[in-house]
């Protein structure tokens, strides 16, 4: 076996190679979010076609009934409210890399507390709504505090604890409406008695848009943005999320900071529960009716907004539109109701799939070809 002549000029070949980016700028980051939405919509369109529905025609009809119609528009907005509240709260938690998957449970805890106050407190009418608001805020925060304490004290993974507490909240609501809080006025149905008028949020004209909650959501987004950008607390939250080691070196109190930010984050989800109970249903109802997964959709809201609280208002509107469009799809296009969940899932999947785009770039590089004798022997020998 004599080796081949290696003295000839080495050939070069060009290959595509993934390179790590030093830093992804904001333009690229937003481009990735928008790209993710576009791809998800295209995939949803393909799904429509598979059901025998022309996607472009479907889109036109959905836009007609959601965005070009006053009532449709109000539906989009009212579905966005819980997504805004919970989503904005999650942007804060996610900034510190506290992966709160429990907004759904925190929302339900808020709804339970608000309903409890509405049904049983006996407070005078003008105090009723403020008391419900506070109760929901505290209950939501309390629901998040358990996982926060477990994480900072014992290092328990918050993804699991927050997620599991969602089921606890779901069954707690079911137990209440089938048991102690079961309504007397409508026997045979599993929900609580209706709230008195003073415990109901005003709505916009004849729609279901409970605007006070919308105002709270917008104010919260502005407040969280201000907190993150302008305060010592926000600076420490951002340090904690960007580099825990550096945060420790900077003297950030991991315990206090985490507990405080989770309280705000989970409290916001609790307020979403207040809005749904006092603004839409006016009673404690089955968890599936109270929240068709708002707490989970809020995760997509926060991630699509790239953990920016103000942007979460916009992404909440988008996902609120997807939810409202689901009604149109079911009624006008006779598509199965699950299509909403599928669309949401596709959006999330596309966001996650876009992450490597931010970390890497594809570059063309020239590599010298190894002398065939040196290269071939071991590489090919082991490949087969």
């Amino acid at each position: 076996m004599s080796g081949p002549d290696v003295s000839e000029a080495r050939p070069v070949r060009t290959v595509w190679k993934l390179e790590r980016r030093a830093h992804a700028g904001p333009a690229l980051a937003w481009g990735a979010s928008i790209g993710a939405v576009v791809v998800a919509m295209a995939l949803t369109g393909a799904l429509f076609a598979a059901f025998g529905v022309d996607p472009l025609d479907a889109l036109r009809r959905i836009v007609d009934r959601t965005l070009l119609d006053a009532r449709g528009l109000s539906e989009v907005a009212r579905r966005s409210i819980p997504l805004m509240l919970a989503g904005v709260g999650l942007t804060l938690a996610f900034r510190a890399r506290f992966w709160n998957i429990g907004a759904e449970g925190q929302l339900l805890a808020g709804a339970i507390a608000a309903s409890g106050v509405a049904l049983f407190s006996g407070l005078p009418a003008p105090l009723l709504l403020p008391a419900m608001f506070l109760a929901a805020l505290v209950a939501g925060a309390a629901w998040g505090l358990g996982p926060a304490l477990l994480k900072v004290r014992l290092g328990v993974n918050e993804i699991i604890t927050t997620l599991m507490l969602n089921y606890v909240a779901i069954y707690l609501v079911r137990w209440l409406i089938n048991g102690p809080w079961k309504g007397t006025s409508l026997s045979g149905f599993a929900y609580s008695d209706p709230f008195e008028q003073a415990a109901r949020l005003p709505t916009w004209a004849a729609t279901r848009l409970h605007w006070p909650t919308l105002a709270v959501a917008i104010a919260l987004a502005i407040a969280v943005a201000w907190l993150l950008a302008r305060t010592r607390f926000g600076f420490e939250v951002r340090m904690l999320g960007a580099s825990p080691e550096a945060a420790r070196y900077a003297g950030v109190d991991f315990f206090k900071t985490t507990v405080a930010l989770v309280a705000v984050s989970a409290g916001a989800a609790g307020l979403a529960g207040f809005g749904e109970a006092a603004g839409i249903h006016h009673r404690l109802v089955d968890p599936n009716s109270l929240s068709p997964g708002y707490g989970y959709t809020a995760i997509i809201v926060a991630l699509l907004a790239r953990r920016n609280p103000l942007a979460a208002l916009v992404t909440a509107l988008f996902l609120g539109w997807v939810a409202a469009a689901g009604d149109v799809m079911q009624v006008a296009l006779r598509l199965p109701s699950q299509i909403v969940g599928v669309t949401q899932g596709l959006v999330l999947l596309c966001i996650l799939a876009a992450e490597p785009v931010l970390r890497y770039r594809l570059a063309r590089v020239e590599v010298p070809l190894a002398p065939p004798g040196a290269d071939g022997r071991t590489a090919e020998g082991s490949a087969r």
């Binding site: 010592r232 900077a250 003297g251 190894a370 082991s382």
Partner: protein, 525 residues
């Protein structure tokens, strides 16, 4: 061995001119390394000397930019560890690559190419028994790996490599997880491998074990081979000095002011690791105001723990730390910083700055609770911005703007951000860990200037460094650490380099050490 060298067989491994560059550093610069059959070749070097990169190249984890590898005289090029294994190279890594939830037999079966699809571990016992016998390894084939001690896991790794037919074994810091008795057994097995004509590359920064088992020793520093010695002619003190550097940079010590009163007093400090093992024990020394005290030692002998305890990142187990006559032991980072303890951390990119944040933000972190940056609970970004512009100008930080994302800066400029933040005030104690590691000459000079300025202003400065020249140039006194204990507090003006080396190797100053393991004090060549 054949008498005629020229016509003798080529060495088992011959690496020639191996070069590997990473952005900003040359990790391996034209490194040559050869291992004959029946030889143990030790690679000695500090963290960052390029040992790991060389191993990665040899094991197919990274491709060299230049250079050649020959096995038994044939050129080879590995694209992955599979290729290296097929060429009969085995790696026993520092961190084991074993499936912890599976049994020893299952882990071994996983590593073999000819494992049957059904009942993969059936024939294994028959194959393992003779190997285990020959090398003196008893292994419990049915035990789950997660339940084994580190020493046992290491034996599984070695068996894995031997079952794969490895002729060249790379042992990467093999004794870092072993008790002295386990280390003895490992080296007995290495003797068997030698007798069988296998080659061994031993990566280590422990002089005593290198002197004990190696036939040849190559010292790497800064990616280059700085010395090559036959075992017989090597000397622990010399090797220690070679490892930490004898660069030709000749800095004269400047006229230091007369030191003032004691500012930092450490008494009988003890720090235990996570498993209760002592990382620092019986450490006592003072640092005066206007004095720079250097801490010398081979990496991993307690320097990192000392810096962490003094700056609040780690709690002392026992002992006293007094700063300006106030007890500060066990205070948290924030309180210590407020009391004037500043820290230039060892890992500047991960700990010293938040890479994804702006330069301006990194210039105020730690100080962000103080005026003028904090106004109550709010931050005054105008003050932060003005401060950043000032610091960038005064420290010549090469950043396009104060809003530049910090991780896009070069290492020298990241360090300038840290120095500007930590050394701009009037600290009482400066703890600087490897402050010039990886910096160019200009940035190094600037760092030294700032440290001297703090000394002249009356601060107590503790300088931890692996660069002996840096210590001799800057420090007034040098504390030498070996296995967490002080093996000497030396006056920098009258110190002998060889003496420091011996103390770093634990061969002088540690004879009263009750925890000293066998082999430490005994090895003199």
């Amino acid at each position: 061995m054949p008498s005629d060298e020229a016509t003798g067989p080529p060495p088992l491994l011959q690496m020639t001119g191996v070069t590997k560059r990473f952005p900003g550093v040359v990790a391996n610069d034209a490194v040559d390394l050869s291992v004959a059959r029946g030889e143990v070749h030790a690679l000695l070097g500090e963290n960052g000397a390029g040992k790991s990169t060389l191993v990665h190249i040899l094991y197919g984890l990274q491709a060299p930019d230049a250079g050649e590898i020959r096995l038994d005289g044939r050129p080879v090029r590995f694209r992955s560890p599979r290729d290296a294994m097929a060429a009969r190279i085995g790696l026993v890594a520092q961190h084991f690559h074993l499936a912890r939830r599976h049994t020893v037999a299952e882990n071994l079966a996983l590593a073999l190419n000819d494992t049957p699809a059904l009942f993969p571990t059936r024939s294994l016992r028959a194959r393992v028994a003779p190997l285990a016998d020959r090398y003196g390894f008893e292994v419990r084939l049915n035990a789950r790996v997660g339940t084994l001690s580190p020493g046992e896991q290491q034996r599984v790794e070695i068996l894995k490599a031997l079952l794969q037919g490895a002729e060249l074994l790379i042992l990467d810091e093999p004794t870092s997880v072993l008790t002295p008795q386990e280390a003895d057994r490992l080296f007995a097995a290495v003797e068997v491998m030698k007798a069988e004509g296998k080659g061994v590359v031993l990566i280590s920064h422990k002089m005593d074990e290198v002197l004990r088992v190696a036939d040849r020793i190559t010292v790497l520093r800064g990616g280059r081979v700085v010395a090559r010695r036959e075992a017989g002619e090597a000397d622990a003190g010399e090797l220690a000095t070679l490892m930490v550097g004898r660069t030709v940079r000749r800095g004269r010590r400047d006229a230091a002011p007369e030191p003032g009163a004691v500012r930092l007093r450490i008494e009988e400090l003890r720090v235990d690791g996570e498993k209760g093992e002592p990382r620092l024990a019986d450490v006592s020394f003072d640092v005066r105001g206007g004095e720079i005290v250097g801490v010398a030692g081979v990496a991993g002998n307690g320097q990192a723990e000392l810096a962490q305890v003094l700056t609040g990142l780690r709690a002392p187990t026992s002992g006293r730390i007094r700063l300006d006559d106030r007890d500060v032991a066990g205070l948290n980072v924030r309180t210590l910083f407020e009391r004037g303890v500043v820290h230039i951390p060892e890992d500047r990119n991960l700990v010293g700055v938040v890479g994804s944040m702006q330069v301006a933000e990194n210039l105020v972190m730690r100080r962000h609770r103080q005026e003028p940056f904090a106004r109550g609970r709010r931050l005054d970004w105008r003050a932060v911005g003005a401060h950043a512009d000032e610091a960038i100008r005064r420290h010549h930080i090469a950043a396009p703007s104060r809003a530049t994302v910090t991780k896009t800066l070069s290492g020298g400029n990241v360090q300038k951000v840290i120095l500007a933040r930590e050394l701009d005030g009037r600290p009482g104690l400066v703890v600087a860990s490897h402050p010039t590691y990886g910096l160019d000459v200009a940035a190094t000079e600037e760092t030294h200037r700032l440290l001297r300025a703090q000394r002249d202003a009356g601060a107590a400065v503790l300088l931890v460094s692996e660069d002996l020249d840096e210590l001799l140039e800057l420090a007034d006194r040098i504390v030498v650490l070996f296995r967490g204990r002080v093996t000497g507090v030396l006056d920098a003006d009258s110190v002998d380099r060889g003496d420091i080396g011996l103390r770093m190797a634990g061969q002088v100053g540690s004879d009263t050490d009750p925890t000293a393991h066998g082999g430490t004090g005994a090895v003199r060549t």
